[in-house]
């Protein structure tokens, strides 16, 4: 396995940090789930997709 170092790009750190920011993850997914629930009753299909997205995305934060 190659182990060459990659220089850290501070200009992109903020944007990349947002990808794993807990508020961004929680607000965008739980917010979407709540919006689906409030809009048309608690509908199974969109919630299933949102839950799967959150399951994958939140794996950045392993307990």
């Amino acid at each position: 396995v190659a182990t060459n170092a990659v220089r850290s790009h501070s200009s992109g750190d903020l944007a990349l940090g947002l990808l794993v920011n807990p508020y961004v993850i929680a607000v965008s997914t739980a917010g979407a789930a709540l919006a689906f629930a409030l809009r048309g009753g608690i509908s199974f299909a969109p919630l299933l997709v949102v839950a799967a997205l959150l399951a994958g995305w939140s794996s950045a934060w392993s307990p």
Binding site: V6, V20, G41, S58
Partner: protein, 203 residues
């Protein structure tokens, strides 16, 4: 977090190559999740054929989802998966492409490693209830793979080949982040389960 061992340093510091590995990883997650979904759909179909129907499947799945939600909320509840992560030793044994394939397939399959949060348990166990709509099944599998891919993408620019350590700088507020993730996952998993019990759900 073992998947962040796929950071650019592991790919030889070439971003084009790393993006290829990222694509392999996302595809492998989707394949792993699809394999699990296939097995569960076969089981659910069996339950359906013997007269159990979707209610019987839900009777088995719901308690497991509730246990996972309870665990997210801090209870020491048993959960239906192995409490291990992907083997770190693979990072030294496999080429980056094979590593992306192995980690992706293992994490996508899910039951081979711990499901990090209750949404994973809920989405996978309740997925067979959506089999009448293959598009939803495909979207669910794709969403899981995309979500896991985002986590690996966030490791871009890290300088370590040591996996999680490389991305830790972007996870500075760990205790609060974990609390937020647990709460969000428990809420969404509970909503998903509730949707099975309402008129707008699958029953």
């Amino acid at each position: 977090m073992g998947s962040t061992g796929l950071n650019p340093a592991v790919s030889g510091a070439r971003y084009g190559r790393w993006l290829g590995h990222l694509a392999v990883y996302v595809a492998a997650v989707a394949l792993g999740a699809a394999a699990t979904a296939f097995v569960l759909v076969v089981l659910e179909t069996g339950v359906d054929r013997v007269g159990g129907g979707k209610v019987a499947w839900l009777a088995v799945a719901a308690p497991l989802v509730i246990l996972a939600i309870a665990r997210d909320l801090g209870a020491h509840a048993p959960v239906p998966y192995r409490n291990v992560q992907v083997p770190q030793v693979l990072r030294y044994l496999l080429s980056p492409t094979l590593l992306a394939l192995a980690y992706g397939a293992q994490l996508g399959t899910g039951f081979l490693t711990r499901f990090t949060y209750s949404t994973h348990t809920a989405a996978i166990l309740l997925l067979p209830l959506a089999i009448d709509n293959p598009g939803v099944v495909a979207l669910t599998v794709a969403a899981l793979a995309l979500g896991k891919g985002v986590v690996v993408a966030a490791s871009a620019g890290t300088i370590s080949d040591q996996g999680p350590e490389g991305i830790d700088a972007r996870l500075r507020w760990r205790p609060r982040g974990l609390r937020i993730m647990r709460a969000a996952n428990a809420a969404v998993a509970a909503l998903l389960l509730a949707s099975c019990l309402t008129t707008g759900g699958v029953l």
